[in-house]
């Protein structure tokens, strides 16, 4: 009995030591590559989101909520359940918005202003540094337990649309995406993983 408890304690201590070791090691190497590797290794599958978007020509912010489904490497589906049913699918080079039987297809190559928004989230979820760096300059702050990745478009023409995208998270979990557009419009999306 006692020997079993002591063995258990020993095992715990060893685990703790290992975890600490891992943590220090991780902290020592905490950079964009480490974040990307972590994200890449643990892509989220489903998550709940709440989004608030303020658009200057509208009188009040728009609230929406629903589910995000990410299929690596390049399919991101946003299923809005409130206020109305809406399905937004970003797949490869296309964005399809379906609402009330109507369908709008947006081609990213035609509309870099749309691509720039999608790629920030999709690229981060996929942990695809190369895809992100094609469009943005990346800067990472914080620690693995609480990090903040700021994306600023490289091209001036895109910067005149999107000022920056700030993504926050903990470990492999993306929790918050904040987009600031050049014209002052902004959106904030909070993400909770589903079990």
């Amino acid at each position: 009995m006692s020997s079993r408890r002591s063995r258990l304690a020993l095992a715990r201590a060893a685990a703790l030591a290992l975890a600490l070791l891992a943590c220090t090691a991780a902290r020592a190497a905490w950079n964009v590559d480490a974040l990307m590797a972590l994200l890449h290794a643990h892509p989220p599958k489903r998550a709940h989101f709440d989004e608030q978007k303020s658009v200057s020509i509208l009188d009040r912010p728009l609230d929406s909520s629903g589910e995000l489904v990410f299929t690596p490497p390049d399919r991101l589906e946003k299923h809005v359940t409130s206020p109305g049913e809406e399905r937004i699918v970003a797949d490869r080079d296309r964005l399809v918005v379906e609402r009330g039987g109507r369908r709008q297809v947006v081609d990213f190559r035609e509309h870099p202003e749309v691509a720039v928004l999608i790629e920030s989230i999709r690229g981060t979820l996929a942990g695809d540094r190369a895809a992100l760096e094609r469009i943005y300059d990346l800067s990472l702050s914080g620690a693995q337990g609480s990090w903040r990745l700021v994306l600023v478009p490289r091209e001036a023409s895109l910067r005149s649309l999107v000022a920056r995208v700030a993504i926050e998270g903990s470990g492999a979990e993306v929790q918050r995406v904040e987009i600031e557009q050049a014209d002052g419009d902004r959106s904030l999306m909070q993400i909770r993983p589903e079990k």
Binding site: V55, G84, D93, V105, D107
Partner: protein
């Protein structure tokens, strides 16, 4: 005078023919093998193939180098071609569809958007449409609508552009279209020249090559490792023309060289050689001039027949030179009396055979028929009336009696082969009977001079683009532009349920680019006046995040649109809408208008449910509308003409038999003459079937040539059997030489990469040899019945 007149007439005829040939236009497109007097649907089909949108498509692919370089090259090439007046449009995928004309779409959105109707501009409709736009604004696509919202809150611009979007888009790599395996960048261009304007197409191809080279120089670095590939109906026409031209030139020269060498070896006299080619040259010149006069243009394939004529026309001079006996002058009265009737009969049977082609109803085949008839008749006449007068005094070629004697004993032993020949012919007939379903190839592609590799590339690039293959369409014919557009709109409404139910992927309609005036008027009339619109917006926007006061620009634009003139063809000028419309709405010379609605299947590469489309059109009772499947229609057409050509050949066969009967006046002699021909044709056809080659209409031409050439052999054997026995060795020598030249020149043609020429070459070379052997085997002994022959003549 008696000597000079025929020669003078001949020289005059040659001069006139040369003038006509110099003025001739040469073509090489497959449409020459399409019917001359088609029904309205078939005429449309032919027009579509010659001039339609489908015929103007040029697909360009860039391979080699790396993806980023290919993308840069693709963009640079697109920019250059867009500025090239020989191209109506070019798309590289960098900006898909009609988004480049967003401003145009925005300006005319209320006349052009398919969504505009009274309901949409009622209170509930406005609320629904504007709610949609607001939620789109909140979506990642919001950036797209943001600049338009206050003027176009119902989203008409996007609805319009969405309706014009192609059904299937290709893969994109580095921002431009690419093949599924990402190894090629793809572009699609439309030329201003129609597909049958081969010169125009060739110039457009040159421009594309020039633009690509310039783009390579501009980008430098590793761009030089990249390669440009092109395909499309026009490109293939240009390729096949140059291929046909190349092969025709090469094989004519080689064929002539081989025949000349052969004749020189035998005659050992350059003068005899030159004189021997006089009928050939005369026949070719007269043949081309006759076709040029009769058809206005000469097809490259017809020229390819120049080679074949060398094979047969040279025989006449061989008969003339070689058959002259010792001490006789070639072409003297004795030769004329003994041999000319036989040659004349051979020429007449050939002409009877080729008449089948003349009446086949296919201009391409009729050309071959006219060319052969005119060419052979001219060659024979030149041999009979001109050549003897050109011969110098005491002209004589080397006496071929010695080898002739060897041939004579060979011919005698050939009769031992009689049972074998009968068995072979019987076996061939059994093969043809058993496999009768696989004898003829019903696919018109078997006539296509385009090499299989080019066709495979074409299919590959088309599949990569996911483009509809433009083979299925609904055609609406009407007497005016407006009626055609209204018909297209009605047909579209009939197709909409099929698209919704997934029976049809999508359809494209000219009415989407230019709605009929009636539709435009009804759309604009459904727009409320400013006061009404303002009054409706207030309740419509209640509770939404957008205040009605903000939408004053919208009210203003709607008011303008109500007053604006409708969109016409002139309004579209210069936009990509106009280029698209040009490929879908045609005005023909007779004053009729045709709208073409291209259909795309539910999944790329799967067939269209033709019955569902026909039923939908019938149910909606759309006047002047019909469904057309280019491939099926062409195959139907072709098999119809194949049957007709076969029927005509049967009539030609009857004519040959009748002709022989008239001349020989003996059923058994006619049978003896026909037997080797029938056996030769059966054996060659069966050999092709056994080797897995299905016979096309061109093989039929080859078989007719076998009959034409073989009839000479069989008739000479007949003459040997029934006429005086003198000169047998020389006659046999002349037959052997004639056969050698025929087999050599046609055998050479069998090496052509052009299926049409290959088919004729392989058929005739094998057939000519077989008929000679069979004629020898089946012939009666020389001098078999001199008395009977005397009675018959």
């Amino acid at each position: 005078m008696r000597r000079a007149l025929p020669v003078a007439l001949w020289l005059l005829a040659l001069a006139l023919c040369a003038v006509q040939v110099a003025r001739t236009r040469f073509v090489a497109d497959l449409s020459s093998f399409l019917p001359a007097a088609p029904t309205p649907e078939q005429r449309l089909l032919v027009d579509e193939l010659r001039e339609g949108a489908f015929s103007r498509v040029m697909i360009l692919a860039i391979e080699g180098s790396d993806a980023a370089t290919r993308a840069r090259l693709s963009r640079a090439l697109a920019a250059r071609l867009a500025a090239d007046p020989r191209f109506a449009s070019v798309q590289d995928g960098a900006a898909e569809g009609f988004a480049r004309d967003k401003d145009f779409a925005f300006a005319h959105r209320y006349a052009l958007s398919p969504e505009v109707n009274a309901q949409r501009f009622g209170e509930a409709g406005l609320r629904a449409a504007i709610s949609d736009t607001i939620s789109l604004l909140a979506s990642p696509a919001g950036a797209l609508v943001k600049p338009l919202v206050l003027r176009d809150p119902t989203g008409e611009t996007l609805a319009l552009l969405e309706s014009l979007r192609p059904a299937h888009a290709p893969r994109s790599v580095e921002g431009v279209w690419a093949s599924p395996d990402a190894t090629r960048a793809l572009l699609v261009a439309t030329t201003r020249a129609g597909g049958s304007d081969i010169d125009g197409q060739a110039l457009a191809m040159e421009d594309a090559h020039g633009a690509f080279d310039a783009a390579v120089r501009e980008i430098g670095a590793n761009a030089s490792a990249a390669r440009l590939l092109m395909t499309g109906p026009g490109v293939l026409s240009v390729r096949s023309r140059s291929l046909v031209k190349h092969d025709v030139e090469r094989f004519s020269v080689l064929g002539l060289a081989i025949v000349a060498t052969l004749l020189l070896l035998v005659y050992r006299s350059p003068l005899a050689l030159a004189l021997g080619l006089v009928p050939v040259a005369t026949g070719a010149l007269v043949g081309i001039a006759a076709v040029s006069l009769g058809f206005g243009v000469v097809h490259g394939i017809t020229l390819g027949f120049g080679t074949t004529l060398i094979g047969e026309a040279v025989d006449y001079s061989i008969y003339l030179f070689v058959q002259a006996g010792r001490g006789e002058r070639a072409g003297d009265a004795a030769w004329l009396a003994r041999f000319w009737p036989t040659i004349r009969l051979g020429v007449l049977t050939s002409i009877a055979g080729f008449s089948a082609l003349l009446f086949s109803g296919l201009p391409g085949l009729a050309q071959l028929g006219l060319y052969s008839i005119a060419g052979l008749a001219a060659a024979a006449l030149a041999t009979r009336f001109v050549l003897p007068r050109l011969l110098p005094a005491r002209f004589q070629v080397r006496d071929l009696s010695a080898p002739g004697h060897a041939l004579e004993s060979a011919a005698r032993s050939a009769s031992r082969l009689r049972a074998g020949v009968a068995a072979l012919a019987g076996a061939a007939l059994v093969v043809l009977l058993v496999k009768h379903a696989q004898v003829w190839d019903p696919d018109i592609a078997s006539l296509n001079p385009v090499p299989a590799a080019d066709r495979a590339l074409d299919a590959e690039l088309r599949a990569a683009l996911g483009a509809s293959d433009a083979r299925s369409m609904v055609i609406v014919r009407a007497s005016s532009e407006q009626a055609a557009l209204e018909g297209a709109e009605r047909a579209g409404r009939a197709l909409d349920p099929l698209v919704e139910r997934g029976r049809l992927g999508a359809y494209q309609s000219p009415a989407r680019f230019l709605p009929s005036l009636a539709t435009q008027r009804s759309r604009l009339a459904s727009l409320p006046d400013p006061a009404t619109l303002r009054a409706r917006l207030k309740p419509a926007l209640a509770g939404l995040a957008l205040r009605p006061e903000r939408l004053e620009p919208f009210v203003e634009d709607v008011a303008h649109a109500r007053e604006a003139p409708p969109v016409t063809r002139a309004t579209l000028a210069g936009s990509s809408f106009a280029a698209a419309l040009d490929g879908m709405l045609f005005h023909d010379a007779a004053g009729g208008w045709t709208a073409v609605l291209g259909l795309a299947p539910e999944k790329p590469g799967t067939p269209i449910d033709a019955r569902a489309v026909r039923e939908a059109l019938a149910k909606a009772n759309v006047a002047g509308a019909s469904f057309l499947d280019l491939k099926d229609e062409l195959d139907r057409l072709y098999s119809g003409y194949l049957h007709r050509a076969l029927a005509m050949s049967a009539i030609g066969l009857v004519a040959i038999v009748a002709l022989l009967f008239l001349a020989l006046r003996s059923a058994s002699r006619v049978a003896t003459v026909m037997a080797p021909l029938a056996a030769g044709v059966a054996v060659v056809a069966a050999a092709h079937v056994l080797l897995g080659t299905r016979l096309s209409i061109l093989h039929l031409v080859g078989l007719l040539l076998v009959v034409a050439v073989g009839s000479n052999y069989a008739l000479f054997f007949d003459r040997l059997a029934f006429a005086a026995s003198t000169g047998t060795p020389r006659t046999l020598a002349s037959l052997a030489l004639a056969n050698a030249t025929t087999v050599a020149s046609f055998g050479l043609l069998a090496f052509s990469s052009i299926p049409v020429l290959h088919a004729i070459g392989s058929t005739v070379a094998a057939g000519a040899f077989a008929t000679l052997v069979f004629a020898a085997a089946l012939a009666r002994e020389p001098g078999y019945n001199c008395a009977a022959s005397g009675a018959a003549r």
